[in-house]
Amino acid sequence: MLDSVLFYFFAGIAVICAAMMVTRRNPIHSAVFLITTLLATAGIFLQLRAEFLFGVQIILYVGGIMVLFIFVIMLVRLDAPLQELRFTFQRWVAAFVALALVLEVAVMFLLLRRLPGQGSLVLRAVPADRLPPNSEALAQSLFSSYLLPFEIASVLLLVAMVGAVVMAKKR
């Protein structure tokens, strides 16, 4: 009961704010709505008992990446964000993309429904109180099964860091 209330609450916020984000003209407003979406997603992570990811989402995504976005938006101080054409001719492309994706999911659902024994989409998960402690389990899996990807991810971050510095450095 509480679970579903929380889910619909966060999901509603996420979807509405995402739509607002795409439609705002002012980039700062867009960023604020994106922040709200990301926070709502963090809430969904919490509702899914992915506590560590919740923390990472807030610290890294919201507290890190979005701050960077806002910082850049303020740095490039566009005086005329309002002149921007919001929807260009590409809207037809967009509509097509959307339609295609919706169709794809619909087909997928239908197929899954039809296949016998594959009703995995309504599978009941492990009850929350019997889950292993989340951070510990995640760390265990990160540092054993996924050690190599983990290291590669850190190299990726390093490369990105160097790249960003090189890019943004004043010549």
Partner: protein
């Protein structure tokens, strides 16, 4: 086109530079100074001082007042060092009259002027510290300044705009316990100034904020005409108290502190040392205040012979000069005042170039300007 290109290379993102209007209502422009700052990010790429918000036409007023009537007006220029202003004016008119104040008057003038120098430097220290973010020195400085103001109050009844001296000498003789009060202040002050030094001098943040900030070379300083501690911190040993002694300064031994780098830290050190020297002068002076009259014979109505005179003194902030032209009437034909703050402020644009916003307030503070004097 060419301008565009340079502008682009100057700023962080090639976008327009940020223009900040600092003042006339700003916590640290020490009154009503207005500075237009052109910023690239936080770096100053251009600045312009706008003055005149406190202009009262002091020099014009002088032409419609008698010589004595104008004396209180000069107190309102550098209102944190009113005694010094009065001294300069009185001595200028005395020079015009070819009169000289008696020795006793000159010694008492010296004592009060040096106390005023300490008070002015204390106020500077407190506010300069506050500009750089040190909250506490201000209150300590105010505490000491209060002692000086109490001495002034006992002497002439006023604390800030004292009008302590009269043309030709003094109106009031030294009160009974003047020596004792000054001595008590001086003994206390020796310990107190060490206290300030422990708060600031060796503090690495303080050094970081002031070292190499607002550098002024000796040549530039002389070329811009700056004077006072600002000049001396650049390494020029020029102090009118030694160079052209006035009042009773020729009788006392004191050092002229000079700096080497000409940065904000050196100006700080120079002023601190000046306070110590002023304290020594006061101690020497109270040891032996000569007897005798306190007023020269100048008459009630002052009618100097037609002519002109320029007299300058070493005010706390630099050279304070009075150029007075007399046409033989009771009112001066023209009074021109050379206020130290006004001239020192000229160096501002040169000093802030390339520094950060935070340094701008440090530099305004280190110039020790008083807007009443700049605008007059």
């Amino acid at each position: 086109m060419h301008e565009d290109a340079t502008k682009k290379s100057n700023t962080l993102l090639g976008a327009d530079e940020l223009v900040i209007n600092m003042g006339p209502q700003h916590p640290s422009t020490h009154g009503v100074l207005r500075v237009k700052l052109k910023l690239d990010g936080e770096r100053v790429i251009g600045s312009e001082c706008v003055i005149g918000y406190l202009h009262r036409g002091v020099e014009k007023i002088a032409e419609n007042r008698t010589y004595q009537q104008f004396a209180p007006y000069v107190d309102r220029m550098d209102y944190v060092a009113a005694v010094s202003n009065g001294l300069g004016y009185c001595e200028a008119i005395e020079k015009l009259l070819n009169a000289e104040a008696p020795l006793r008057a000159r010694v008492i003038r010296t004592i009060l002027t040096e106390l005023q120098r300490i008070a002015s430097h204390l106020l500077w220290l407190g506010t300069h510290g506050l500009d750089i973010g040190a909250l506490t020195p201000l209150f300590y400085c105010m505490r000491e300044r209060e002692e000086i103001l109490k001495i002034f109050e006992k002497y002439c009844g006023a604390r800030l705009t004292t009008h302590a001296f009269r043309i030709g000498g003094l109106q009031y003789d030294a009160y009974d316990t003047l020596e004792k009060d000054v001595e008590r202040f001086c003994t206390n002050f020796a310990k107190r100034i060490e206290e300030y030094e422990t708060l600031l001098t060796g503090n690495s943040i303080w050094i970081g904020r002031t070292r190499n900030v607002g550098k002024l070379s000796a040549e530039d300083a002389i070329a811009l005409g700056v004077s006072g501690p600002v000049l001396r911190a650049s390494g020029v040993k020029w102090d009118l108290r030694k160079a052209m002694p006035y009042a009773a300064y020729d009788q006392y031994k004191f050092e002229i502190p000079v700096g080497t780098h000409g940065d904000t830290y050196d100006r700080y050190i120079v002023r601190m040392e000046e306070m110590r020297q002023s304290r020594l002068i006061c101690l020497q002076a109270i040891e032996n205040i000569p007897g005798g009259p306190i007023m020269a014979k100048v008459g009630k109505v002052l009618k100097p012979a037609p002519g002109e005179v320029y007299h300058s003194i070493e005010a706390p902030k630099g050279i304070l000069g009075y150029y007075v032209v007399s046409d033989g009437t009771v009112q001066p034909y023209r009074v021109r005042i050379r206020p130290p703050s006004f001239i020192n402020l000229q160096a501002f644009s040169k000093m802030v170039e390339g520094h950060l916003v935070a340094d701008v307030v440090a530099i305004i503070g280190t110039l020790d300007i008083v807007l009443g004097e700049v605008d007059r």
